[in-house]
Symmetry: C3
Subunit: 262 residues, 3 copies
């Protein structure tokens, strides 16, 4: 049985504390894959909401100081319940505030996984060779090595996405090569993936295996969407990508998956 199938059968509730830009896309993407989204950053209820969820996603894309309090409350409730907490350090290197926020969340919470692009992961490690420019990822370094360093240093699962996707723990590394460049022209495709990763990590099973299937499902869905004759740019890719997340089957993943242990 695939994790995708289990996810659709168990429809995990994912509590997203995410940014205003991607909040709608995240909800639609979680529904499409078969999970159930809930969004709340109200201090009056985040602990209660995290307590009924199967996973919590913290995304700092438009974070404010009040949001940070909400993330700490939700994260602590999740830690107490033993459900996964995923951090998406959007634009971590763009401002000192973002970097400080990430380190505060990493210090005060048990983070299960970090999902970011190369420049965001590098920023968390204090490395300068990946320049952060807004929320974009640029730079050419060795992403496999970077993910492995981050996994060792930050002691959690690292999912580094980009042209090549890398999943790393201190013991294991998996490299995934599916996907299409055009996906990066839709805002929030990294953010939505972080939420889907949270949904997959909420299932039973080894983390690297679950993360590998999550990234394969997501990137193969983008390939399937791009093959549709109606898709001529990022505008049309958007609806067809959500359709592909809804329609993708375990056998599509098995046939197309380009995955390699390192």
């Amino acid at each position: 049985m695939s994790y995708l199938q289990t996810l659709r059968e168990t429809t995990p509730l994912i509590h997203n504390l995410t940014n205003e830009v991607v909040i709608n896309f995240t909800a639609n993407g979680l529904y499409a894959i078969g999970a159930v989204p809930v969004m709340s950053k109200s201090l009056d209820e985040v602990s209660d909401m995290a307590s009924i969820a199967s996973g919590v996603l913290l995304n700092i894309g438009t974070v404010t100081s009040t949001d940070i309090e909400a993330m700490l409350l939700a994260g602590k409730a999740a830690n107490e319940k033993g459900i996964p907490v995923v951090l998406d350090p959007v634009g971590a290197g763009a401002t000192p505030f973002r970097l400080k926020t990430c380190h505060r969340l990493l210090d005060e919470l048990e983070i299960t996984a970090i999902r970011g692009n190369a420049s965001e992961i590098a920023a968390l490690l204090g490395e300068d060779q990946w320049q952060s420019r807004g929320v974009d990822s640029t730079g050419d370094g060795n992403v496999v090595k970077l993910a492995q360093q981050a996994a060792a240093s930050l002691t959690c699962l690292i999912v580094l996405t980009g042209e090549t996707d890398v999943i790393a723990t201190k013991d294991e590394t998996v490299v995934c090569q599916n996907g299409i460049p055009l996906l990066g022209s839709i805002t929030g495709t990294g953010c939505l993936f972080s939420s889907l990763l949270t949904a997959f990590l909420s299932l039973e099973g080894p983390s690297v295996e679950k993360a590998t299937e999550a990234i394969s499902v997501y990137t193969i869905a983008s390939e399937m969407a791009a093959e549709h004759a109606n898709v001529q740019g990022p505008g049309t890719l958007h609806p067809y990508f959500l359709d592909a997340l809804y329609n993708i089957r375990p056998e599509d993943v098995r046939k197309r998956q380009k995955v390699e242990a390192r």
Copy 2:
């Protein structure tokens, strides 16, 4: 003359105090049907904005304590002006804060109508048989009886949506059977309907009649969208559903409407 036609000729301005997830979809859906949306939750202007509107929508989907103050100000301005105020109790049973918020709004304002799914309406009545899980509706109870109980107990128009849609006042009940399950895979389709309902209720005429036409227009538009060859999932349903709201004619409603008084 249909209410739909009147709505398109009078283009009512609807002031939405709604959640961050659905705010864009709500604005686009109101424009598509022929109304004019305005969104504001700023304490500095909500009273003024409600005063120039034809209807006010209160949606607690991502509500904060500041939002509640804004909803009370806008609701009071609407009550003074005599325009409809519609409450969407998103996920009312999910956390104590949401339930308390709903009761505060119901206590301090004259609410014209409540639009919710079965678990949300049940939560407002203090019933446990409909379990709330995030903002999803689950459970199998007798929705007609539930809507009637709510109308009697909460003394306002109840519009309970789901596989079967029920409109109830203390004197009348109407059951509507149009629509497609896939609509539930787009986030905010319940929320957008609450805003459209507000627009219909802002017109002259008996409330149950206006609510019935609102739900028929909405669900029949979803059927028309789903018939389009390009619609293969929730991603493509989204644009074609907005097109259907824009293109639906009164005669489409007359021909397809499945409505029954109880």
Copy 3:
């Protein structure tokens, strides 16, 4: 060389302090045209973010008192760095708070350009003949004269959009006649244009020329989208319009452009 081509080669980072309704559409539209969006209204980082950007967009669509402080901080950082600051006075005449907010931003910041519809520009001038109704523009006055008056009185570039688009400084006026009415049925098309205008103004060159190309690219893209057989309403126009922004070439602009100096 066209500004469009330069924009795609230099991919300017645009810092948007914008409203919740259009924030996702704005980010997707900026990516589509070739710019890079960043969104932040956090007081803890807006100055830093504006300092690494090439342009700053201030949009008051759902503005709160905290947002105003953020806009002042970001605007001042932009002024110090000498990058353009564009104001979108959404619904300026709808409430006293919105009008007061616009005047405060105009008083305390050096605004490079204002992009609004006729009723918004008229509201800034204290004129009543263009009635503001929510964020809609209505009224029939002489928009060329209005734009010229605003340019003289507010001493910045005015880009007045509507059926006819007018670009005015105290010395020059250009009238643009491309575009389709249906674009107005998608929420945030004015707002997104303000962000694209910011991106064009961040390039080297004369302001009126850059603004003229920006409005031509945008409105011609809407024409190209509307010609697609799949576009049957505002729902389908949305993805095809984003595709058109992504695919439009300088030669499309040259062939279709309807521009006249006045």
